[in-house]
């Protein structure tokens, strides 16, 4: 039964609507990734400080973001804060804010780890050679840290993309919601519509995330070999 009815995928009008939904998904993901990377780098560099005034708030922020599932953060910002604090954000704004904060926390940890995991002798040798602090960062630490950071941060980007389907739950009409609408419109005439539409969305996500994952792995292999 579920394998007939594939014609729903060959209707250009359906594909055009899915495309519009996909643009919303990609737009939210892209903006969130940019914000997450920018804020994450700033927070990550600050988090290199060993002072308790930095470490305690940083760890609280990071662990709070990590321990609560993203879906709960979305609900809190969209439904909870609207009720408690009177905020009235659109679904898209909420999505971008939540993904940016979550992504920034994860990115900050990647930045902090990639710099602090460099062996101490790198700094010591550079000091012994007479380099200034700024020169050490610019010519010794950052070029090495970036090679560790880029593959991991590309991975983080795919994680953010893979979290975007949750946006359907805060009323955003992204690709999955458009899929639901198409299925509901055809449910009486085409009972297999759900299989084909969700199957297509499954493939779309794979085609977006897989090449990015391969890129991340290639860069990691290339740079760890050197």
């Amino acid at each position: 039964m579920p394998f007939s009815g594939a014609e729903i995928l060959f209707d250009p009008a359906n594909l055009a609507r899915l495309g519009e939904g996909l643009i919303v998904t990609v737009r939210i993901a892209a903006i969130s990734i940019v914000f997450a990377f920018l804020f994450g780098m700033v927070i990550g560099v600050i988090a290199l400080s060993r002072s308790g005034f930095v470490q305690i708030p940083y760890q609280l922020f990071l662990q709070a973001i990590r321990i609560v599932p993203q879906i709960v953060w979305l609900f809190l910002f969209f439904f909870g804060f609207a009720r408690l604090l009177g905020w009235n954000w659109s679904g898209e704004t909420t999505g971008i804010v939540v993904f940016s904060i979550w992504g920034a926390a994860e990115m900050a940890d990647l930045v902090r780890a990639s710099i602090s995991s460099l062996p101490a002798h790198q700094t010591q040798s550079a000091l012994a050679l007479g380099l200034a602090r700024s020169q050490i960062y610019l010519h010794v630490l950052i070029p090495q840290a970036v090679r560790r950071l880029i593959p991991a941060s590309i991975n983080l980007a795919t994680r953010i993309i893979k979290t975007t389907p949750l946006l359907v739950l805060i009323t955003i009409v992204e690709v999955l919601k458009v899929g639901q609408q198409l299925i509901e419109a055809k449910i009486l005439t085409n009972p297999a519509a759900a299989f084909w539409i969700y199957g297509l969305i499954f493939v779309i996500y794979f085609l977006i995330c897989f090449p990015i994952a391969v890129l991340s792995r290639r860069l990691e292999a290339k740079w760890s070999a050197q």
């Binding site: 599932p69 609900f75 975007t164 999955l176 759900a194 969700y198 996500y205 794979f206 897989f210």
Partner: protein, 216 residues
């Protein structure tokens, strides 16, 4: 901030019952994922003919698609019932991540270990059982721990296929009483209670493993 505390306290039994559902789905999904992952990683490690390609494809597909879409495809597309669907989707997603964790662990065991064991007269089975697996599992512990926490958190989306987990309870309470903040605060507390012990256990285990491998 005024919250309706009596109603929040009254909702505790509902969350407690739903927490069992969440834990049950997480536990069975994670165990299945572990079994799938170990089997997959092992087939790759033994370089079994014909199996490597499909296993690698499975790992890539499960890791590069969102759980929510997997759930929708299984439940609405293939008409799998809600509860088995939740467990299957979690096992499908987790299997890929677990396979990667085990594979990295197996690869971390040096070739010389196997060669030494074989030259000492151990059979292939004994080599795997007493030399390769213990070392591989130990070095895979941090990645497996991270996966367990990740998968437990991922169960939060199963309410989309009508499983009554704690997110579903919170959503029901919101639509029944319109006490949004109260229900969401309870939801956050429920996740903290579920996840904190697991996170602490994983950290402890990681520290022990680190100590066992590298010393102090």
């Amino acid at each position: 901030m005024e919250l309706d505390y009596p109603n929040m306290i009254a909702s505790i039994p509902l969350f407690a019952r739903a927490a069992w559902t969440t834990l049950w789905i997480a536990a069975s999904g994670i165990l299945l994922a572990g079994a799938v992952g170990l089997a997959g990683a092992f087939c790759l490690y033994l370089e079994l003919p014909y199996l490597a390609r499909p296993i690698k494809a499975y790992i890539e597909i499960s890791r590069n698609t969102p759980l929510l879409v997997q759930l929708f495809l299984l439940h609405f597309g293939l008409k799998v019932d809600a509860l088995p669907c939740a467990v299957m989707a979690l096992a499908f997603l987790g299997g890929g991540y677990m396979a990667e964790a085990f594979r990295a662990g197996l690869e971390a065991v040096e070739r010389s270990q196997v060669e030494s064991a074989l030259s000492l007269g151990l059979s292939h089975y004994e080599t795997v059982r007493h030399v390769v697996l213990p070392q591989a599992l130990i070095s895979a512990v941090p990645a497996i721990g991270a996966n367990v926490i990740f998968l437990l958190k991922e169960t939060s989306v199963v309410s989309v296929v009508a499983v009554t987990d704690i997110v579903a309870v919170a959503k029901d309470l919101i639509s029944l009483y319109y006490e949004t903040a109260e229900a969401l605060v309870m939801l956050v507390i429920a996740y903290l209670i579920l996840l904190t012990p697991v996170c602490l256990a994983v950290w402890r285990l990681e520290r022990k493993v680190k100590y066992a491998v590298f010393g102090r």
